[in-house]
Symmetry: none
């Protein structure tokens, strides 16, 4: 029930303005309502009735526009991935010096997750289902993020300038950057419960952000002598 309001209202207002039945607006309304419902309750917990009500429309229209609850779920996942991809595209890290570019990327990843609990909730749910909807979705493969390429280039630039150490894999780094923020948010409730500390406050989140940026940047730093390989630790 978070921030799908804007889209929904826009659609409705637009529909009213045109003064005729507007299928596209209904689609958007349903998609926004579905996103909120699926994020809040998961695929199994979500109720088609509730989605229709959230959109202010009839339940039958879900089937009219999307075919089934599952298909609607896939549509929501695709939408949500499309959004983050758009944002990532707008980062233009290529224009910045390597370390600055990296700090910006880490910050963006963290802030995006902080601002989009829906995204996390939907991903978690989908992973809980074995990722079968994403696997089925042809469009996901096409979407294959160009971010990895960007990270690879940035790493190379940094290594050349002596800003980063050698031997860091771009995909591993991406997963690490994401994981350091993602886990904090996705497991916020259980971590809070276990450690009896509220990790959801603004301060706690800000502290975590500092830690993550610091942690990654330190891990990328070139060492006094090379200490890159795990086999040497211990």
């Amino acid at each position: 029930m978070v921030d799908n309001g804007k889209d929904a209202v826009d659609a409705r207002v637009e529909s009213a303005r045109i003064g005729k039945r507007d299928g596209e607006a209904s689609r958007r309304l349903l998609l926004a309502a579905a996103r909120a419902e699926f994020a809040a309750k998961g695929l199994m917990g979500a109720r088609v009735d509730e989605i229709a009500r959230g959109a202010g429309l009839n339940k039958q229209l879900v089937y009219h526009y999307f075919g089934s609850k599952d298909d609607l779920y896939v549509a929501v996942l695709e939408r949500v991935y499309a959004e983050i991809r758009e944002q990532e595209r707008a980062l233009s890290l290529g224009d910045l010096p390597p370390r600055q570019a990296m700090v910006k990327l880490i910050g963006f990843s963290f802030d995006y997750l902080a601002a989009h609990p829906d995204f996390i909730a939907l991903l978690n749910d989908e992973n809980g289902q074995g990722g079968r909807h994403l696997a089925a979705s042809r469009r996901m493969h096409e979407m294959h993020s160009p971010l990895i390429a960007l990270i690879r280039r940035t790493l190379r630039r940094g290594v050349a300038l002596g800003a980063f150490r050698r031997g860091i894999d771009a995909l591993q780094l991406y997963i690490s950057i994401a994981g350091l923020a993602y886990f904090y948010f996705s497991n916020n409730r259980t971590l809070s419960a276990i450690f009896d500390r509220d990790l959801g406050t603004t301060q706690a989140i800000a502290a975590r952000r500092r830690h993550v940026v610091d942690f990654v940047m330190t891990a990328l730093r070139p060492g006094p002598v090379g200490v890159a390989s795990a086999s040497r630790h211990g």
Copy 2:
């Protein structure tokens, strides 16, 4: 449906051997079956019928012994947390030199998650529900892991010996170590789908393990010059 076999069968065999009805054995059987079912399908997706069948018992005993599906779920969560706590206790990091201790801890965290997909699935599901079951469980607070204290001590020892840099918060470090492994496993399917690469193979997991150990150990390394604060990056 993973590895609840041993306990379950033991209980049953024992029960048969004694030749009398054994409520405790039934409890264990149900708990094991529930764990597998909840991990595989989540709280909402799990079927009480299926749990009973998995335990080779009838459905009503779930209610007899646990009261409700929800209570059974809480029992499973408590069980699963108790198990990891036990293992953590057995680590005895205090006896090792700081860097060795840290490598051992990172390795253990990674390997435990690699070996217990059930644990991840259950946590994810519980977080999807807002952590309400754990929050309700009194026993969780008591279980408050002494691991943080251990990490704190290890960090101090390392700093004193010049092995680790200063200013690392033990809780943040714990979350980072966990997150670097957890995210890889919990989102394995969607990551595989997005990047069109199978991250579930033995090799991929081994590569990830190396990266994580290396990443953390490097991040802990004391720098040539102090670079601890995030504000200095860029």
Copy 3:
């Protein structure tokens, strides 16, 4: 399963005639079937399945239209009270001489109960539950029978004419009139069993009716000398 036939069939026939789906008709059918089932078996003994079958509809519509078994029960109670209130309104006792008016009222009360075993059964069941459904129903308070006022006026008129004795409370009288008939019908089975006599035959009922009218009218008669207070008896 008594006499809900007419309404139900009418609704269904009408529905068929119009040739479209008629939610209102379905509601009526369910209400009629529920009334019969609840009267026959009580709230706890009634089966939602049976009600649906009795209405020729499927079970889920009970929930669609009424929300729950309990709510349906309340709807039936309200319906049944509304019916008797309507009939009472049509009595127009105000136009008759006091004694005639009273005889008519007694007769009506008796005959209504004789003709509506459902009503008695439903009331008994509701009282067995502590009257909680009626207490919860706001509409009951509003329905507060204007009959008491009518009885009060009739009593006054009778006293003024020397037809009735003084000091009779209208509410007490109403309860007495109702009780003399109600107990006979509500406990007909146990009374018959205890006294080994069939009190359900037409003759037995007619005899009871005569007794009741006679009994009440005699009790209202003005005495040769005032003998109104209980303390003087004996």
Copy 4:
């Protein structure tokens, strides 16, 4: 849960005193608990588990001692009727002058119902089931209350003395006396709801008692001229 305490405790204490397992005490405990449970929830609403718990005994003993839930219900009904019969026997109305005897009988009937809500609840429930348990119980027929004979004799004595009018049927009178009190108590909740007045207070009950005694005694009074037949009313 009303006043079965004394019996229950007595039984238990007695059992302890003898210092051995006492089947008879268990029977009594179960019967008392069953009575409370059946009165509170009716046959269908009552739970065998609850009865056993109420008696502080194992559920299986219900079956051991009574065979089935239904049979236990019959046993409770018989017990309850036996109790009222005993009390009635102790009235010894034959020794009093007719009007005094009648007042005493009316008072007793009223007070007994006022003091035994369990009795009313059980009767109501049994009537709701069509009286099938009482009909099946042979012992009921034998118990056929000698009260009717007593009333008949009292009426005759009164008529002879000019204290009562002629033509009153003893059975009808008994039903009337019972009904005037019974209805007030059995329907207390719904009457209170409908008339928006609490008829359960001590004052309200006392007022009702006065009305009933007065009402019946007036109805029995010999008239100035005969007004016995209903056909003459109006």
